[in-house]
C-alpha cells in the first residue's frame, strides 16, 4: 500500500518553519551589521533562493497557483552567472604583474625568474591573441556566405508569409544575386591559391557548389530558385570554412602557436604529471613499512590490487583480478562512501550557513580563541 502524500501540509509546515526562522533570526541578523554587509547578505540570500526554489518547487505549479513554470528562464540566469564568474580572470593577471613587476623594478631576489615569467606570459598572450584573431578571420569569411544564405532563406520566408519589408522582393533578389556572384568569385580565386595538397573533397566541393550556384544565378533567377540556392550557399559556406582552415593551418601564426602550445606547454604539463609516477614509487619505498597487523593487512590489500590490474597476474594467480574487484567494490567503496557522506553533510551545512549569512561576519573573531579540545 502506498501513501499518497498531500502537498499542502508539507508546504505549510515548511513555510511555517522558514517563517519562524526568519522572524527569530532577522533581529540578530541586522544587529551589528552595517548597510554594506546587509546588502551583500540580501543579494546572497536572493541568489541562493532562486536555486533553492528551482529545486524544491515542482516543474510546473498547479493551475490554482497560476500554473507558473519556475525554471522558464533558467538558461538565461545560468548564462548570467557564468558571465559574472568569468570576470575574475583579470584578478590573477593583476596579481602577477604586481608581484613580479615589483620584484623586477626593485631588483629583489628572484627578479630573473620574474623576468622569465612575465616575458613568457606576454609572449603567450601575443601569440594566443594572434591565433584567435586569425581563427576569427577564418570564421568570418565563411560567415559572410552563411549570412547570405540566411538572407536568401529570409526572402523566401517573408514572401511566403506576406511580410512587408523596406525593399521589394525583386530588389532583394538583385542584391542577393550580386553578392552571391561576388562571394562565389572570391571563393574560386582563393581556391586557385591552394596547392596540390589541398584535400580533393574540399576542392571538388567548392567547384561543384560554385558551378551549381552560377547555374541557378545565370538561368532565369526567380523567387522559386531560392529553395535551391539556400542549401547550396550553406554548403559553399562549409566548404569555404574548410578551405580557409587549410590556409590557416599553414600560416606562421598557427605554426608559432602550435610550437608554443603543443611543443612546450603540453609536454610540460605531461612531464609534471609524470613526476607523480616517480614520487609515488619513491614515497612507497620510503613510507610503506609493515609495523603492525593493520599496516600488514593494508600492505597485502595494496599488493593484491596492484597485481590484479597488471598483465603479469597470470604468472601468479588467475583469481587476482576478481579479488581486486571485490576489494574495490566492497571494503574500499564502503570507506569512500562513509567519508563522502560526512563531507557532503558538512558541505551542506556550510552552504546553508553561507546562503543565510549566519557565518561570523569575518573569519577572524574579535576575541582570542580558547584552548583545544577537552
Amino acid at each position: 500500500m502506498m501513501l499518497s502524500i498531500t502537498w499542502i501540509p508539507i508546504v505549510a509546515l515548511i513555510a511555517i518553519l522558514l517563517g519562524t526562522l526568519l522572524v527569530t533570526m532577522l533581529p540578530r541578523f541586522f544587529a551589528g551589521r552595517n548597510y554594506k554587509q546587509i546588502l551583500i547578505a540580501g543579494i546572497t540570500f536572493l541568489a541562493g533562493l532562486y536555486y533553492f526554489l528551482d529545486f524544491v518547487l515542482p516543474p510546473k505549479l498547479p493551475e490554482m497557483l497560476g500554473g507558473y513554470e519556475f525554471s522558464k528562464y533558467h538558461r538565461e540566469i545560468s548564462q548570467g552567472v557564468i558571465t559574472v564568474g568569468s570576470m575574475a580572470f583579470a584578478l590573477g593577471l593583476f596579481n602577477l604583474l604586481y608581484v613580479h613587476g615589483s620584484k623586477i623594478i626593485f631588483w629583489k631576489k628572484g627578479a630573473i625568474n620574474s623576468i622569465a615569467l612575465l616575458s613568457s606570459l606576454f609572449l603567450m598572450m601575443v601569440f594566443t591573441s594572434n591565433e584567435w584573431l586569425a581563427f576569427e578571420e577564418v570564421n568570418d569569411k565563411a560567415e559572410r556566405i552563411r549570412t547570405l544564405a540566411e538572407f536568401s532563406r529570409k526572402i523566401e520566408s517573408d514572401v511566403n508569409n506576406n511580410i512587408a519589408t523596406e525593399k521589394t522582393p525583386d530588389e532583394r533578389m538583385v542584391l542577393l544575386k550580386e553578392h552571391a556572384v561576388i562571394f562565389v568569385g572570391e571563393t574560386q580565386l582563393r581556391l586557385s591559391e591552394a596547392k596540390e595538397d589541398l584535400p580533393r573533397i574540399i576542392r571538388d566541393g567548392i567547384n561543384n557548389q560554385s558551378k551549381e550556384i552560377n547555374k541557378i544565378l545565370n538561368a532565369n533567377f526567380k523567387f522559386r530558385s531560392l529553395g535551391l540556392l539556400t542549401p547550396k550557399l550553406m554548403k559553399l559556406a562549409g566548404d569555404r570554412q574548410q578551405l580557409e582552415d587549410y590556409f590557416y593551418k599553414k600560416s606562421s601564426t598557427k605554426k608559432l602557436y602550435d610550437y608554443l602550445y603543443e611543443g612546450l606547454f603540453v609536454p610540460l604539463g605531461s612531464a609534471m604529471f609524470a613526476l607523480l609516477g616517480f614520487y609515488i614509487i619513491s614515497a612507497g619505498y620510503r613510507a610503506f613499512r609493515v609495523r603492525s597487523v593493520e599496516s600488514g593487512l593494508m600492505m597485502i590489500a595494496a599488493v593484491v590490487v596492484m597485481l590484479g590490474q597488471i598483465p603479469f597476474y597470470i604468472y601468479i594467480s588467475d583469481a587476482l583480478p576478481d579479488i581486486r574487484l571485490w576489494l574495490l567494490e566492497i571494503p574500499s567503496a564502503a570507506a569512500f562512501r562513509a567519508i563522502k557522506f560526512g563531507a557532503a553533510i558538512a558541505g551542506l551545512y556550510m552552504a546553508i550557513r553561507m546562503w543565510l549569512s549566519i557565518e561570523s561576519s569575518s573569519f577572524v573573531e574579535t576575541k582570542k580563541p580558547g584552548g583545544g579540545a577537552k
Binding site: H74, S78, R146, G269, M272, I281, S282, Y285, F288, F312
Partner: protein, 288 residues
C-alpha cells in the same frame, strides 16, 4: 631508526625510467589484465543501437597532463562508437581539452577510412564538435532542462549554427542522448554529470573514463548503478582496445596496450622496492 640499506631516491628514479622506457622502446606488449568494468562499457556501446535522432554525447574533460590515460580511453570509445555508426557529439568544459576534440576524432576517421575504403564519416552528420563551454554544473543543468540543444549551444566549435547541421536539424533534448561518456582526471566535473545530467523520467547510460587515482571513488557510482561502465585508467583502455581488436581483427593496434605493459613493469618494480624497504627495515631493527 636508520635503515641498513637505504636507496637514494635518484637511483629509484633511474630504475623507474628503465622500467618504463624499455617496453616502449622495444614495443614489448603483453595481454592486458581483464577489466570487468571496461567490459560493461563495451557491452553498453554494443547494445546501443544507431537510431535516427539519437546520438552519443562525449565529454573530453582532460588536459595534456592526464592525456596519457584519458586520451587513450577517449580514442578507443570514440572509435567504437564510430564503427557502430552511432553519431558522436564532442564537448568539453575544460579549456585545455579543446585541441583533443578535433585531433582525436579526425585521426580515428582517417584510420577508419583507410581501413574501410568507400566509407565516409561526415562532419555534421556522424560527428559534431561543440568545443569548449564554461559553466560546470550550471551548464550541465541547462543541458538537462533544454527543450532544444541547438538553442542552448547555438553554434559548434567552428561557429557553424547547429540548426544547419544534419544532426541538430530537428529539436534535440536530453532524451535524444542515448549514451553519455566522460573522460576526466578531475572529480568535480564528474560529480556534476552524475548529479545533473538527467531528468525526472530519463537518464542516459553513463560511461566514465577516469585516471588511476580516482578509480576507488568511481567504483561507488558503478556499484550504485549510476555508472554503467568504467575505464580504469590506461588498464581499462588497454582491455577495451583488446576487446575492439577481437571484434575487428583488421584494426590497427593503438598505444594503450603498449603503455599498459610499461605500467605493469613499473608496478612490479614498486612491489619489489616495497619488499626491499621492509626487509632492510627488519634487518636494521634486528641489528639495533
Amino acid at each position: 631508526m636508520k635503515s641498513s640499506f637505504n636507496l637514494d631516491r635518484r637511483i629509484i628514479y633511474a630504475f623507474v625510467v628503465i622500467a618504463l622506457a624499455w617496453p616502449l622502446i622495444n614495443k614489448y606488449t603483453v595481454r592486458p589484465a581483464r577489466m570487468k568494468s571496461a567490459e560493461k562499457l563495451f557491452e553498453v556501446v554494443e547494445s546501443t543501437k544507431p537510431t535516427p535522432g539519437q546520438f552519443a554525447f562525449v565529454a573530453f574533460d582532460f588536459g595534456p597532463s592526464t592525456a596519457a590515460e584519458n586520451a587513450g580511453q577517449a580514442r578507443v570509445v570514440v572509435e567504437h562508437l564510430m564503427r557502430r555508426r552511432i553519431p558522436v557529439v564532442l564537448f568539453t568544459q575544460y579549456l585545455l581539452a579543446d585541441p583533443f576534440l578535433k585531433s582525436i576524432p579526425e585521426k580515428i576517421i582517417s584510420n577508419l577510412e583507410t581501413e574501410m575504403p568507400g566509407q565516409k564519416w561526415i562532419y555534421g552528420k556522424d560527428w559534431v564538435n561543440l568545443g569548449y563551454r564554461p559553466g560546470a554544473g550550471i551548464l550541465i543543468q541547462s543541458i538537462s532542462k533544454s527543450k532544444n540543444l541547438a538553442e542552448t549551444f547555438l553554434v559548434d566549435a567552428y561557429s557553424t549554427p547547429l540548426k544547419d547541421l544534419p544532426l541538430f536539424r530537428r529539436p534535440t533534448q536530453l532524451k535524444n542522448i542515448s549514451l553519455l561518456t566522460q573522460f576526466t582526471g578531475l572529480v568535480g566535473l564528474f560529480d556534476s554529470y552524475v548529479q545533473f545530467f538527467q531528468t525526472a523520467d530519463y537518464r542516459p547510460n553513463f560511461g566514465h573514463g577516469c585516471t588511476s587515482i580516482t578509480i576507488p571513488e568511481a567504483y561507488i557510482y558503478l556499484d550504485s548503478g549510476q555508472l554503467q561502465g568504467l575505464l580504469e585508467g590506461i588498464a581499462g583502455a588497454a582491455w577495451y582496445s583488446k576487446l575492439l581488436s577481437d571484434k575487428y581483427p583488421v584494426r590497427k593496434p593503438d598505444e594503450a596496450i603498449l603503455i599498459n605493459t610499461g605500467l605493469g613493469i613499473a608496478h612490479l618494480l614498486l612491489i619489489g622496492l616495497i619488499i626491499l624497504g621492509n626487509i632492510s627495515g627488519i634487518i636494521s631493527r634486528r641489528n639495533s
